[in-house]
Symmetry: none
Subunit: 224 residues, 4 copies
Amino acid sequence: MQSSSPAGRAGRPRSAAADTAILAATRDALVDLGWSKLTLGDVATRAGVAKTTLYRRWAGKNELVVDAVGELFDELELPDRGSLAADIEGVVLQFAAILARPEAKSGLMAVVAESTHDAALRERIRTSIVERQKRLVLEGRARAQDRGELPPEPDAAEAARTADLIFDMVAGAVVHRTLVSAEAASGDWVRSLTQVLLWGLTSRPAESAGGWAQGGGPGGGAPW
Amino acid sequence: MQSSSPAGRAGRPRSAAADTAILAATRDALVDLGWSKLTLGDVATRAGVAKTTLYRRWAGKNELVVDAVGELFDELELPDRGSLAADIEGVVLQFAAILARPEAKSGLMAVVAESTHDAALRERIRTSIVERQKRLVLEGRARAQDRGELPPEPDAAEAARTADLIFDMVAGAVVHRTLVSAEAASGDWVRSLTQVLLWGLTSRPAESAGGWAQGGGPGGGAPW
Amino acid sequence: MQSSSPAGRAGRPRSAAADTAILAATRDALVDLGWSKLTLGDVATRAGVAKTTLYRRWAGKNELVVDAVGELFDELELPDRGSLAADIEGVVLQFAAILARPEAKSGLMAVVAESTHDAALRERIRTSIVERQKRLVLEGRARAQDRGELPPEPDAAEAARTADLIFDMVAGAVVHRTLVSAEAASGDWVRSLTQVLLWGLTSRPAESAGGWAQGGGPGGGAPW
Amino acid sequence: MQSSSPAGRAGRPRSAAADTAILAATRDALVDLGWSKLTLGDVATRAGVAKTTLYRRWAGKNELVVDAVGELFDELELPDRGSLAADIEGVVLQFAAILARPEAKSGLMAVVAESTHDAALRERIRTSIVERQKRLVLEGRARAQDRGELPPEPDAAEAARTADLIFDMVAGAVVHRTLVSAEAASGDWVRSLTQVLLWGLTSRPAESAGGWAQGGGPGGGAPW
DNA sequence: TTTTAACCGAGACGGTACGTCCTGTCTTATT
DNA sequence: AATAAGACAGGACGTACCGTCTCGGTTAAAA
């Protein structure tokens, strides 16, 4: 977050422990108080740090919360579970598990809401949080293409558009389920989501319009 | 004979105009200031109303914003465009148009974030905003079943689960596209989203795993 | 308080009981709350009366308190105890007894303080409270002159000046003792006050300067 | 070994200038508005200080006004004018001059009225205002005893009682004259007051009861 | 009688001030 | 130069009263 000050010299160096303590204290405060009742003075107290120290490193509450919440997404990774469906389910479950934590719940949408009036904050969210997630979509597709589960992309622009769509659908669905519908993204739910996505992306309807597939799909029971 | 005023009686009645002015002022302030900088004192001033009048009717900023934003969704309706796909596209475009308005952008996610710490607020959001949207999913499915585009539901519980999934996917995708990815939900994007959804829900993959549909779908070009 | 309305005609007449109840409620509130925390809404509630009724009869808190406290001084009278000294002591004790009541304590000085910025209020205090007290000084002197304890006044202007001085000294001393020194105006204290006053007004020093009276006064022991 | 900072000092020290500015602003506001219309927010604005700074140092309006008014009495002193009568007149005139100032008029009685419901405030008034005045009575008497104008006190308790009586009479009379009778304590008035007091304290009546001194006193003209 | 006008209770209204809390900056002494 | 501590200017909070204004309804004298 700060430069390693190669030639930065005189004076007492910044405490590295302070950063860690402040971000952890921020997450604690988010759990206890939620975003709107979280105050920087309280975070400083929880971290055992003076308010000035906090302001020296972050411009304000939004930036601090973005960094504190962004750290949670560091643990996201794409394990190889053998098939595209399994890979997707795995990573969606990871994402859902993070979103289920109260510090993420409280903080994430709040800073997104703030970002509608603050382009710099929007960019910070993009780099700290969103890109870490979106990368998994691209890696997952590439791995599926390597496996032969998906065809290679003929058109780069179209490929990017599709990746964006998938990302918005997956992340949006999980966020909406967790925060708005306020229900857990269970294994069953994730399985259904994955199924609809994969079928939607890899299939063609039995008839171009007006009909529907008859007969059981895998696991029995169509989603409708 | 008793007076026809069973409940509402003594004292000066509340001004109906005040409610309207306050909600409009709230939306104005959301546009100008965003959620976190919006103050109830400022809203009262904009509405030409005393702060006490505002507090007499709403418990706080969250409740006020929910009602102010909720009104935006009153205009949502399900026009009959002749086919399920067209109906979906139409309603999603309406939803996207509302979300594109800055007062919705700023307010909606903020109150959702707040609701993670406030069950009463969550319930208010559900009844004021979410149910108005979800109703359209149910109506759309019923209409498609009337048309014969979709089969009737054999299992009510399963039907409800599916409706929830669709709703979270559609609403979540639009919200995520608009607020997180910060890009407009254009006609093309909505068309792609609809296509994936419908195919995902009405089709079966050509092979249960490992392959992909070859040959042209309608309009040619798979979404990947 | 209101005119007997010889020609004032139509309409429901004001409730006489309300006046009584309001003034009594005002004194109760003064006891419980003191002047600064007394609110007209609370007085109205205590009196079982609507706030509008109160405002229809008094212009504000100050006027109301002046009337409520002024009633306390209605009971002041000048009993004939046989001598000037005894008369003075008697009336001073009455005055002290009234001032000892918490509703008088709290209210009296407060409205006096307010009157420094409000000439109309000052006049109201004068007619409602001060003149009722000052009258006793004049009556007492007249009675003492009838008895032959005091000489007749040769000069009317000088007589008025002296009455004012006595009044300020007596009332001022009792008020200061009660409110500022916060001690009771006991019988002994009143006796000493009366003694100093009477001696000061009726005697001449033994020598014009530099000496003092030796030998026992009544009760023995000079006040110094 | 401990640090040499026994009373501890961490943090920015309080601004000494703020105290001065706040008390002066309080007196200004008393002049302009009177006690009841004086608001701490306005005082803070006048002093060029934030409201929090004011509340950090004073518990409320009463305490602030006591200190602001109390400072006025710092200038009271007992000049040696050669005789007891002249000393008394001098100090009473000083006291009257202070009371004639609108900031004292408005503030003094208001806080006294408040003190009837607040023991801590009463004590604060005693130490900040009353004792500064009463001290002069004691010094004046001691000086007169040194001069031989008054006899020494045989009984300490009696001496204290007498000093209290004198103080209540003098201060009470001046206050009553100034605030209740709303007339200036002129030189003539002060002279008369002093005369009554001295004669009352140092003389014996010509007859123990029922008569009055005939013939002119010094300066001619009996007070009646 | 019926009118009529002033009264009454209740309570909403536009305002103002309250005393508290938080923000982001600053001024200390210390490390 | 960074730190802990805490004072500072500023501003919003949510509450309490102010004094005014509508309401529906009552009350007694005038018509």
